[in-house]
């Protein structure tokens, strides 16, 4: 776990199976036909983000689920709900931030992003959501080199 010996908040969490790679369809290989951005595509962007505490992905911990991802390509909006593993999880803000940064980096600028906690699943839900929605605060957080390093670690591909 982090910091060597410190006990984990949730040492034996429920683990869910990873969905496989999205199979490539013949349509996707056709040069002419456009593929719209759909829920699965957004989910694929965030499902392999690493949890800050466990050697597991957000998908394996069921923190993110495809059903909690809503995208409207025409109106350029994305909404993602995430569910912390326990109601007092101290990492909720960091997880939300990682999801947000991943989406900022990976989606066209036209998209308006909304990342928030699944209603009723965290003690400080309101406060965390407020922070994640606050553009200035997110920008400032990413100026913080220590925080950025932790976020990048969550976003890095697994070895």
């Amino acid at each position: 776990g982090p910091g060597g010996g410190a006990p984990l908040e949730n040492a034996n969490p429920l683990v869910y199976r990873r969905s496989g790679e999205r199979p490539v369809t013949a349509r996707e290989e056709d040069d002419e036909l456009p593929d719209s951005i759909d829920d699965r595509e957004i989910f694929d962007l965030i499902r392999s983000i690493n949890d800050p505490e466990h050697p597991l992905t957000l998908e394996e911990l069921n923190v993110v689920e495809q059903v909690r991802v809503k995208v409207n390509d025409a109106e350029s909006t994305v909404a993602v709900e995430f569910t912390p593993t326990i109601p007092h999880c101290s990492m909720a803000t960091l997880i939300g931030l990682s999801i947000k940064v991943k989406l900022i980096r990976s989606l066209p600028e036209r998209f308006k992003l909304d990342v928030h906690i699944t209603p009723g699943t965290h003690a400080s839900e309101h406060a965390v959501n407020k922070q994640l929605a606050d553009k200035e605060r997110v920008a400032a957080a990413l100026e913080n080199s220590h925080l950025l390093e932790v976020v990048n670690q969550c976003l890095s591909a697994r070895s």
Binding site: N12, P13, V15, D31, P34, D35, I37, L45, H54
Partner: protein, 965 residues
């Protein structure tokens, strides 16, 4: 000089003497040696400046064979007593180790006479050694001390201390280290010492337990690997006291670690511990600790198996499997507790995903049982649980979840492989399940897995499969069901064909399935349904698979060849004749697609024939094509004669069958003589140059090339090649057959390039010349891909072609300069042909070669990026991508051009180019950060655009590339 009062002078004198001795020690007499030894021993008391030279002299003397008994001991005593080794320089310390090593090699008995004093002396010598070069020698000495049973006396702990202080090895070789000592060398050398004797156990095990908890992963791994090594020589006695701590450390690591490596080493160590306890020879009054050790593991892990959704379920299962896999006894102990539990949990958890986890664990334990072969009647837990195990596995096979089905099928395969486990009635049920899954399960993964399972179980129970499965498949294949849509019916037939092929893994089954497949092919050919082509191709694919499965068994191979090859030839000849006599509608059997699908069948049926049988077969097939000799065909009354090499418009259909001739004759072993070979070559040559049908002309050219490649060198070959060159030149010059001539040129060039034939360079030059031809240039450029790539049907190793392993490199060295030169001299309309040719050559070159040749070609490749031809762009990008990863230094010099070109190609109209350009942009990130920094903002901005690409596959690459930047 030796008595000079200045120690420096004395030192020089002794140095000279020592140098002389090092040259001539082998010539010395016993008396001289005695004298010199006494002198040198005495000199050890001299000034410290003199000592290095004295040691050199003693090293020379230590290599003398005539050294009198007693002198070795006396020299060592003197060194131990007079020299403080660790205050010497590295090289001089090394000399001391050499002296000791030399004496240990030749005077073992004498040194052993010293008893533990020798060990003690050596401990003092090496105590505090820091240099890795010396440590390697010192560790070797310790290993020898232990391995050769020198007396350690009361100094065991000291000897352990003086070596274990280096554990875990923490050494990084300096850059440009000329000695080439790697960290790994020291680790292995020290491990060999530490794990060399059980006497160290009481000191070593606490150390290992401590270091397993280290923050350094390398220390963890080293400790675990050392523990595993120790288990090979320890017994229960050594381990006893430490078992609880060892177990708790291993458990902690496996439960917590994120590293697969650490986990794997922990499991290996646990396996070793369990094996060690299983094998220890115990005295009659000692308690066997295996059971108590295993029960502590069971106690800590068992309950996690009941939580199939939780994180610790798999670590627990793996620990139990590691312990259980060490011995039959351990296996019984663990499984008697775990198997009933897992079976019970399976019933308790109704969800498919949970059941899958539980069944996967169960499968892990079943696979362990395989290690011990057949099930022993008396003690096996598994046997007593046969009914519930089978019912769990069968229930998985009928579950709607494909994932659970897949695990069920794997479990079934394992159960089937345990001899005597499944009863005859179980087996029939197994076959029923496999047929159902193979034919009717919607998901193709399950269906394929079921076919694979049938294929691996069939050789174990051939009677059950040939008697039960094959007839069912045949019945399904032949049934005409009106109620289904034609589409479903077709896919069911497809599945039947695949299943028939999959199950043909035993010679007795092959004899059942091959006639069914051939029968079906005849039936489809006679039918008039649309989609016949696809059906025939499917039958051929199944026949091909069976052929491959038959290759290793000589008897099946010959049966298959004798049955299938004449049958296919007869059907094709029949179809071709009908067409030439009645000018009927084109027969599906003669379509390119179907003929092309028959080629691998005949080829695979031929490559593994013994030379005698191949000779027998070739004596039928060649006369069929040359003389229309049809008598060997199973059905040989034909309406007219078969003469594929004759002129005549109505013979077009017959000529296409050259494809089947090619498949056969080009797959023969090289030592099989082909009757009338020269006549055959002439006919093929004529056909390839004159035939208007591209399929036939190309096939004839390939067949000609395939034969030429294997033809014995000599006058006959030279003559036929000369003839071919003449025909090609004539054809290339002008007229309607230029394309055919080019095709022939390409295939013959390939045949000769592969075998390093001297004529190949002349032909390659002709090809290079054609790149400048406005009409044939593009096709010639694409031809370079044909030359470099592995061809699927002829001219590859599998069909016994003469292929030199380095032909691609050789082709590259010989021709790339010419391509580059040609490019520079070419007109603007044909420049792209040279780039394309070059791209093809580079694409097929092994990467290491590419990296070394890069500097000379890079400017050309950069130019090629601006070429508007998509093929050139694509292959240049795919060439540059590995280079960016493997030669970042060279590529850094061109970063500016690379960034610009890659970014501009990300908006290419072709999806494949956009993807390749983004991959290159991604690969740019492997250049040094300082090189990239100036471009960072620009690249990130530019990569925002492909994030909104209309194609998902492009967006995926853009996300990866941008994320990395």
């Amino acid at each position: 000089c030796l008595e000079n009062t200045d120690p420096r002078m004395r030192g020089r004198g002794i140095q000279l003497l020592s140098q002389v001795l090092l040259q001539c020690y082998s010539l010395l007499q016993e008396k001289e040696v005695l004298h010199l030894v006494l002198f040198y021993e005495n000199r050890l008391q001299d000034h410290h400046l003199v000592i290095p030279s004295v040691l050199q002299g003693l090293r020379a003397l230590s290599m003398c064979e005539v050294l009198s008994p007693g002198l070795a001991v006396s020299v060592l005593k003197a060194i131990f007593q007079e020299v403080h080794v660790q205050s010497l320089l590295q090289l001089d310390r090394h000399t001391v180790y050499s002296i000791i090593t030399n004496f240990m090699g030749t005077r073992e008995e004498e040194l052993k006479g010293l008893g533990a004093d020798f060990t003690f002396g050596f401990i003092q010598v090496m105590d505090g050694e820091k240099d890795p070069r010396n440590l390697l020698v010192a560790f070797q000495i310790v290993r020898d001390l232990i391995a050769k049973n020198y007396a350690l006396g009361p100094f065991v702990e000291e000897l352990f201390e003086v070596t274990s202080c280096y554990f875990p090895i923490d050494f990084t070789p300096p850059p440009n280290d000329p000695h080439g000592i790697q960290r790994e060398d020291l680790i292995l050398s020290l491990r060999a010492v530490l794990a060399s004797t059980p006497q160290f156990a009481e000191f070593l095990l606490p150390l290992l337990i401590e270091k397993m908890d280290s923050d350094l992963q390398s220390a963890k791994l080293d400790s675990l690997q050392t523990l595993t090594a120790c288990c090979a020589i320890y017994g229960q006695k050594e381990l006893q006291e430490f078992l609880p701590s060892l177990w708790s450390s291993l458990r902690r690591e496996v439960f917590q670690t994120a590293s697969e490596k650490v986990e794997a080493e922990c499991l290996a160590a646990l396996h070793a511990l369990s094996a060690c306890l299983s094998c220890s020879v115990l005295s009659s009054d000692t308690e066997d600790l295996l059971d108590s050790f295993l029960s502590s593991i069971l106690q800590d892990c068992r309950h996690h198996l009941c939580e199939p959704d939780m994180k610790l379920v798999w670590p627990s299962a793996k620990l139990l499997q590691a312990a259980a896999g060490a011995s039959l006894r351990a296996y019984h102990c663990v499984t008697s507790s775990v198997l009933p539990l897992l079976l019970e949990q399976y019933t308790k958890h109704p969800q498919s995903s949970q059941r899958r986890t539980i069944l996967e664990m169960l499968l892990g334990f079943l696979e362990l049982q395989q290690k011990w072969g057949h099930v022993e009647e008396d003690e096996s837990t598994l046997l007593s649980l046969r009914a519930p195990v089978c019912s769990v596995v069968f229930s998985a096979l009928t579950d709607p979840s494909v994932q659970l089905q897949l695990v069920g099928i794997r479990a079934l395969t394992v159960l089937g492989s345990l001899q005597g486990f499944l009863s005859p009635s179980d087996l029939e049920l197994v076959v029923d399940h496999l047929i159902r899954l193979a034919l009717h399960e919607e998901d193709s993964q399950s269906s394929e897995a079921a076919m694979e399972a049938a294929g691996s179980l069939a050789p174990l129970y051939p009677k059950v499969f040939s008697g039960h499965m094959v007839p069912r498949l045949e019945e399904e294949l032949q049934s005409e069901r009106q109620e289904e849509s034609p589409c479903d019916h077709r896919s069911l037939r497809q599945r039947c064909l695949q299943a028939l092929a999959a199950v043909s893994t035993h010679t007795s089954i092959v004899r059942e399935t091959v006639p069914v497949l051939l029968q079906h092919l005849r039936k489809v050919q006679k039918g008039s349904e649309a989609g016949n082509t696809q059906d025939m191709v499917s039958v051929c694919q199944s026949l091909h698979r069976v052929a491959l499965q038959c290759q290793q068994d000589a008897e099946s191979c010959w049966y298959y060849h004798q049955t299938v090859v004449p049958c296919l030839l007869a059907m094709a000849v029949q179809a071709a004749m009908q067409e030439s006599t009645h000018l009927l509608l084109a027969k599906a059997l003669l379509e390119e697609e179907v003929l092309a699908a028959m080629v691998p069948v005949i080829s695979a049926a031929t490559t593994h024939l013994s030379p005698e049988l191949a000779t027998q077969s070739v004596s039928h097939v060649v006369p069929l094509f040359l003389d229309g000799e049809v008598s060997f065909l199973p059905q040989n009354s034909f309406p007219c004669s078969f003469q594929p090499f004759e002129d005549g418009e109505c013979l077009e259909a017959q000529r296409r069958l050259v494809a089947l001739l090619m498949a056969f004759v080009c797959s023969l072993p090289r030592n099989v003589a082909i009757p009338q070979q020269e006549r055959l070559l002439h006919e093929l040559l004529a056909l390839s140059c004159s035939c208007n049908c591209p399929f036939t002309a190309t096939t004839a050219a390939k067949c000609f090339a395939g034969l030429v490649n294997k033809h014995l060198a000599g006058q006959q070959l030279d003559e036929i090649l000369q003839l071919a060159v003449n025909r090609m030149e004539l054809g290339l010059a002008e007229g309607p057959c230029r394309m055919q001539a080019l095709t022939l040129l390409l295939w013959v060039t390939k045949a000769l390039v592969l075998r390093y034939h001297p004529l190949s360079s002349c032909l390659t030059d002709k090809l290079l010349g054609l790149l400048g031809d406005t009409e044939l240039g593009p096709a010639a450029a694409d031809g370079f891909s044909l030359l470099m790539a592995e061809s699927p049907d002829v001219l590859h190793k599998g069909c016994h072609a003469d292929v030199r392993i380095m032909f691609r490199q050789r082709f590259f060295t010989d021709n790339v300069p010419k391509l580059v030169q040609g490019f520079h001299g070419a007109g603007p309309d044909v420049k792209a042909n040279y780039l394309k040719g070059l791209s093809h050559v580079l694409n097929h070159l092994p990467k290491p070669v590419l990296v070394t040749e890069l500097p000379t070609l890079l400017s050309l490749l950069l130019e090629a990026l601006s070429c508007s031809d998509r093929v050139v762009q694509l292959s240049t990008l795919s060439c540059l991508q590995p280079l960016l990863l493997e030669a970042p230094q060279i590529m850094s010099l061109h970063v500016d051009t690379l960034v610009t070109k890659f970014l501009s190609l990300t908006s290419s109209p072709t999806m494949a180019v956009r993807i390749a350009a983004l991959r290159c942009a991604h690969a740019l990130t492997s250049l040094p950060t300082t090189v990239l920094l100036p471009y960072k903002a620009r690249v990130i901005r530019a990569l925002a655009k492909p994030l909104d690409d209309k194609k998902r596959l492009v967006r995926k690459e853009a996300v990866a590339a941008r994320g990395e930047w």
